[in-house]
Symmetry: C2
Subunit: 135 residues, 2 copies
DNA sequence: GTAATATGCTACCCCAATATAGTATATATT
DNA sequence: AATATATACTATATTGGGGTAGCATATTAC
């Protein structure tokens, strides 16, 4: 249960945008604020737009803006948008049969830890993390 | 908190070796049993030897053998040997200051989940997973 | 002493995630 | 109309994990 750097970027960017709900922010502004590689961020934002989480406006004074209310977007949704349907291993060791009949020693701990995070992702919303780092 | 495939390989290999404690096993035997790419496994085993977890014997009838008792080696130790001191982010989002003064919304869940697994790694020993998959 | 079977070592190749560069296109300001 | 500032798109490095190949070296069996 680790996320790619890209996912981290997405959460950071959207988290910041949540703290300025209603404002249109350009990739450049976000880059300056969040220190995420400019061009990479640009593409990521475009992707997030394509996935429906953001709206974009081209041209001067353009930028990106959340397409829904911050209280309405779960972190799980964001992770899913960025990572797609990445199948996670059911067993800690990648043992094929473990989960079925012969749980390995780490099985319980692993599953519990996974679902803890997973549930948190589903219940935590953008509004909950808005501006965490920017005070 | 996900591990590389290499770490998984190491845990698999050592787990199997634990189930045959005291026997000298060649990279080839392990490869045949565990379906881990031969050459890659070879190198991994050499690394594990260099890190002190295994002893090796060259030449005919040579191979690898655990250098300590299975009840004496923690999984944490193995992970550390393979991954080195990979610093994990303390904050779920990679927010620099989060852990310090302004915990993010995911902080507690994240830390708790991380340390749950971490503790399990420190308390689970090779003896506990010996031969898990091989019945 | 030669063949067979091991580990040890070095140099590659492949691929996906990450990152960069350049150009095309849209729009507001002047 | 021209300029400045945006996004959109495409192509191209870069990097690290994973994997392969070949030869050197050590040891046992014969």
């Amino acid at each position: 249960m680790t996320f790619t750097r890209t996912t981290e970027y997405a959460l950071r960017a959207l988290g910041y945008m949540a703290s300025r709900e209603g404002e249109m922010l350009s990739a450049d502004q976000l880059h300056a604020k969040l220190k995420i590689p400019k061009k990479y961020l640009q593409r990521l934002l475009t992707d997030l737009k394509r996935s429906g989480l953001l709206k974009s406006v081209r041209g001067r004074n353009g930028g990106f803006i959340l397409s829904r209310r911050t209280g309405d977007i779960t972190l799980a949704e964001i992770v899913h948008a960025v990572e797609g349907t990445r199948t996670r291993p059911e067993c800690f060791f990648g043992f094929a049969k473990c989960a079925l009949d012969v749980p390995c020693a780490m099985h319980d701990v692993w599953i519990r830890s996974q679902s803890t995070v997973q549930e948190a992702l589903q219940t935590t919303r953008l509004a909950d993390i808005a501006g965490t780092t920017f005070r």
